[in-house]
Symmetry: C2
Subunit: 107 residues, 2 copies
DNA sequence: CACTTATATCGTATATTTACGATATAAAGA
DNA sequence: TCTTTATATCGTAAATATACGATATAAGTG
């Protein structure tokens, strides 16, 4: 299989990168990493954006598998999907192994 | 400094992720990793897209610092910017250190 | 049962991205 | 110099992404 063949794994990776490539969503991930679990409104209050906008961004992150939401009363508790972050790091770590002398002159 | 503060480093990282979050551009990176150096037309021939479109994608990758282009006669030779890939891997590897038990139960 | 709180979704306006044909530029060969 | 080859850029159309107000839903509270 040619290196540039599109596999479901690569599709998943590109979808994750797309979700993370928006500055607001990237920050939401960092907020969630810091607070462990927080509800939509906690995030809304930490940004200048409208609730509807944040809810939409959370949906994108959820659909990329990067976060999980569980209903708790009227609120939704969001937290990072640790497995997906681990998978992402592994994929990026292994990506383009030939091109950048990894683990040789660096680290 | 709060974890979710936007630093120039984070901006650079998000810009790289954005450039990589397009399937065509992701594939171009893999093509370049395989062939080491190739000209625009080599890439055009490996995709169903028009030359103008590929040239535009190459510009995005170049502006994100992910690839470098050097003029060689009428052609432009592109290659991956190894330093930037190394930096990207390092950043992702260090990202969200608290959230995903990295290096403990896995690897 | 109102009322508050928290959220998701709908409809929509605007901005950005993506793709392409046409065209300009630049180098090399006949 | 004319032609070919390789590329970048311009203008533009179509598709997506982004943001917001309005609204619907759902769970508690008095």
């Amino acid at each position: 299989m040619s290196p540039q063949t599109i596999t479901p794994e690569k599709e998943r990776l590109v979808a994750m990168l797309k979700a993370l490539s928006n500055p607001i969503r990237f920050q939401i991930m960092e907020m969630l990493a810091e607070c462990q679990t927080c509800i939509t409104n906690d995030i809304v209050l930490q940004t200048p954006l409208a609730q509807a906008t944040i809810s939409q961004h959370l949906k994108v992150l959820r659909e990329a598998g990067l976060i999980q939401g569980t209903t708790s009363g009227p609120a939704t508790c969001y937290c990072i999907n640790d497995e997906s972050i681990h998978w992402l790091k592994e994929q990026i770590g292994q990506w383009l192994p030939d091109c950048c002398h990894q683990g040789k002159e660096h680290q």
